[in-house]
């Protein structure tokens, strides 16, 4: 192959390989970090993320002949990472997914107690943790969609392909999810 092969060319080459040959290993090199990041963000702990990321690559291998090239290969891989992560989350139950931060009050606890949110100093320290806890009130799909949209920076057309929805349906779900968080955490400045 002359020059740098595109992902789609490598995928076609990998489909012709009998085992995990050079083309598949190149794809693994290109997507290892991205898949790992998505799995970690969606699952919240290394053990599950590692399991999910490995499963994603095994599925990419077993389904390598099914990539039809209708969408970008990257979107196909991301969709698979999201699906595998969601399946693992659903299978293992929420309690086991994330190591709960100890000794920290959460915005949810404040909201339940009707108290104002934490001081600005403490708030800035705990914002990322609190935001993750806010996301826990959402359904698995809404949570994944918000993470893929706002944290991973995907556009709505990519989300539509990843989640198998129309763009307008994605926009509506994202808007509803944000609204849910605002209603539940009115003092959080969200």
């Amino acid at each position: 192959m002359g020059g740098v092969a595109t992902d789609e060319q490598l995928a076609a080459e990998a489909a012709r390989e009998g085992s995990d040959g050079p083309a598949f290993r190149e794809l693994l090199d290109r997507y290892r970090q991205r898949v790992w990041r998505i799995c970690f963000r969606l699952l919240g702990n290394e053990e599950d993320a590692s399991d999910a990321a490995q499963e994603v690559f095994v599925r990419l291998f077993t389904a390598r002949a099914k990539f039809a090239g209708r969408s970008k290969y990257a979107t196909w891989v991301h969709a698979m990472a999201v699906n595998v992560s969601l399946t693992i989350r659903r299978g293992r139950g929420r309690r086991l997914r994330r190591v709960a931060p100890t000794g920290q009050e959460t915005l949810e606890q404040h909201a339940d107690a009707g108290q104002p949110a934490q001081s600005s100093e403490a708030k800035s320290v705990d914002t990322s943790i609190d935001l993750e806890q806010m996301l826990e009130i959402l359904s698995e799909e809404e949570r994944a969609m918000l993470i893929m949209k706002y944290v991973e920076g995907h556009q709505f057309d990519e989300l539509a392909e990843m989640f198998g929805l129309s763009q307008s349906a994605c926009k509506m779900r994202v808007r509803r999810a944000c609204e849910k968080i605002r209603q539940r955490f009115p003092d959080a400045g969200v």
Partner: protein, 76 residues
């Protein structure tokens, strides 16, 4: 949603990919290939071999009983 909240979540450190990640993927893929090939052997290879063997035994029986060898390819 305020962008800074999402930015902070995006900037939350994601740990490095585990060291043995590639090896574990390779092992999983190999396990899958082994299972796929065993299934292929059990579902296609073994029945095909049994069919060929049964045809030979059947031909031997016919030859023993009739004294002539019946073949579709014979030109007599």
């Amino acid at each position: 949603m305020p962008a800074d909240l999402w930015t902070q979540l995006a900037e939350r450190e994601v740990p490095e990919v585990p060291e043995r990640f590639d090896l574990q993927v390779h092992q999983r893929v190999n396990r899958w290939l082994l299972l796929a090939q065993l299934a292929d052997l059990a579902l296609r290879g073994v029945p095909q071999a049994m069919w060929l063997f049964a045809r030979s035994v059947f031909g031997l029986l016919i030859f023993t009983l009739s004294g002539s060898y019946h073949s579709k390819n014979r030109k007599d």
